[in-house]
């Protein structure tokens, strides 16, 4: 297969935080810690061995305009090629894959983080993402969109609220053995945006993930390879988006499967977006993975177990998937992200070991 000629491998992984707060540690220090681990894991010196750095962040949730100016020093990227993708971390993985496969770089560091505990008014940051002309004047939290979508999805598919509650319970049970999970013990059926409940909603966490991606020649023996990436958006507007399905995730998955030469039936491990419990079921449908055994879906506990890491959610899913593949737990794995309300952005990475 032609696509296999230019494979992109995962040479190193690193992470920091993954807790409800990271009191006393700045986002720069979270990034430093995760980057140091990833470089050590890959056996590289960032000052000489990494050709390009890709960060994924959004100015307003960092509390700084032009936030991309603030990322180089703690990554070893001063006076080097650095760019910020204003989206979820899996979009950064896609960018790194393009940099490597186009020959621009042979080793790329991808970073994303959450320092949600620094944001006093997190809900207001999210509300500021609503269309200022048509939606924001109503004053409603964008999480209401999840309540609306969940009810619509239950109606269209005939699935039940108790199936969604089961997802939340199962992911939190999976999280019990994950040292990065700080929300394994949540049992709170309080309704927030009916039918959406608190225990079916991922809660904010701090953390950082760094991946070192390299050409096949520079990837150590036995590594995990990212053989297909795909990303897509639906119409972003509340008015014209597809309310019946995760259309963006469907298209992202199709592209990633095709590029990897993989069919859904080949996938043995899936780490998928579960920002809300119903989204896990909806995303599995979109990925063609509804029949995948329950213990092969988000064995990490997902965002319900680890917490919601903002733009680092996709890298958290990728990290868990890479670890699963490295452990020999599976040969083909998939990581998927969604950028959360009110967005319709989704990305998918298909991996092999």
């Amino acid at each position: 297969m032609e696509a296999m000629a230019l494979r992109v491998g995962v040479a190193g992984i690193g992470w920091s935080g993954f807790s409800r707060t990271t009191e006393g540690t700045s986002y720069k220090e979270l990034m430093f810690e995760a980057a140091r681990s990833a470089y050590a894991d890959a056996g590289v010196d960032p000052r000489s061995d990494i050709d390009s750095f890709v960060c994924c962040s959004e100015d307003i949730e960092e509390g700084t305009s032009i936030f991309d100016e603030y990322v180089p020093d703690q990554l070893g990227a001063v006076q080097r090629p650095v760019q910020t993708v204003a989206s979820d971390g899996l979009f950064g993985v896609a960018t790194a894959v393009m940099l490597i496969r186009s020959g621009v770089a042979s080793a790329v560091a991808v970073e994303s983080h959450s320092k949600a505990s620094d944001v006093v008014s997190l809900g207001r940051v999210d509300r500021f993402a609503m269309d200022p002309v048509l939606n924001r004047p109503l004053g409603v939290s964008p999480t209401a969109l999840a309540g609306l979508e969940m009810r619509r999805w239950l109606h269209v598919t005939g699935r039940s609220e108790s199936e969604c509650a089961d997802v939340a319970a199962r992911n939190r049970a999976h999280a019990a053995t994950n040292r990065r999970a700080s929300y394994a013990d949540v049992h709170d059926p309080t309704p927030l945006f009916d039918p959406l409940t608190r225990e079916q909603t991922a809660e904010p966490a701090d953390g950082c993930v760094v991946l070192v991606l390299t050409t096949e020649e520079r990837t150590p023996e036995g590594s995990v390879f990212i053989d297909g990436v795909g990303w897509s958006q639906d119409a972003p507007s509340v008015e014209s988006r597809d309310w019946d399905r995760a259309a963006a995730a469907e298209r992202a998955a199709r592209a990633a499967y095709d590029r990897a030469g993989v069919e859904p039936g080949d996938v043995e491990l899936a780490e998928v977006d579960d920002t809300f419990a119903y989204k896990q079921l909806q995303h599995l449908e979109a990925l063609g993975l509804s029949d995948l055994a329950e213990d092969r879906v988000n064995p990490s506990g997902g965002a319900l177990g680890e917490g919601h890491l903002r733009e680092a959610n996709g890298l958290a899913r990728a990290l868990a998937c890479i670890e699963g593949l490295r452990s020999g737990d599976a040969r083909v794995g998939l990581a998927q992200s969604w950028r959360g309300v009110p967005s319709t952005s989704a990305a998918v990475a298909v991996m092999r070991r």
């Binding site: 008014s121 200022p132 002309v133 109503l138 409603v140 609306l148 309704p191 945006f193 119409a235």
Partner: protein, 150 residues
């Protein structure tokens, strides 16, 4: 103040331009209490609010087609917490309404006073008076069965 937490605040202001399409929509609400949409004949899709381009084929559109004021409830939710995650004293119901003649939905309050809303239910816009040309010219949508009709 603790040396481990330095406070910061973002106090910036905006005046957003709704654009030609949305302005026509708001003028329709304000002056005639109608919902103005745009039809793309090539795609067979009518978008409300009005817009000057089709997002599917990128054709140029006219804000020219009236939709509603009745429509069908596509989904609804009961909002129990505010934007700061604090419980609301009085929960508010929001819905997605596909107006008659439209292929898109509007997000707005539901004004149900009796039983729960139901997907597929017929609803009708309730307009405020006076109106100033914004989404808040619509108070919300009420069940047609409630006698909110003309």
């Amino acid at each position: 103040m603790s040396p481990t937490k330095i406070p910061g605040e973002l106090s910036v202001s905006f005046r957003y331009t709704p654009g030609v399409g949305n302005t026509a929509f708001f003028e329709g609400l304000r002056d005639r209490a109608v919902f103005l949409g745009s039809r793309c004949e090539d795609c067979g899709v009518t978008s409300v609010p009005a817009r000057i381009f089709c997002e599917r084929c990128l054709a140029e559109l006219e804000p020219s087609l009236e939709c509603g004021p009745e429509g069908e409830l596509v989904s609804w939710t009961l909002v129990r917490v505010d934007v700061d995650d604090q419980p609301l004293e009085r929960p508010v119901t929001y819905g997605l309404v596909r107006l008659d003649g439209a292929d898109t939905v509007l997000l707005h309050r539901l004004l149900h006073t009796g039983g729960e809303p139901a997907i597929g239910e017929r609803v009708r816009a309730v307009f405020t008076s006076p109106r100033e040309g914004s989404m808040l010219d619509v108070e919300g949508f009420a069940p047609v069965a409630d006698g909110a009709g003309p």
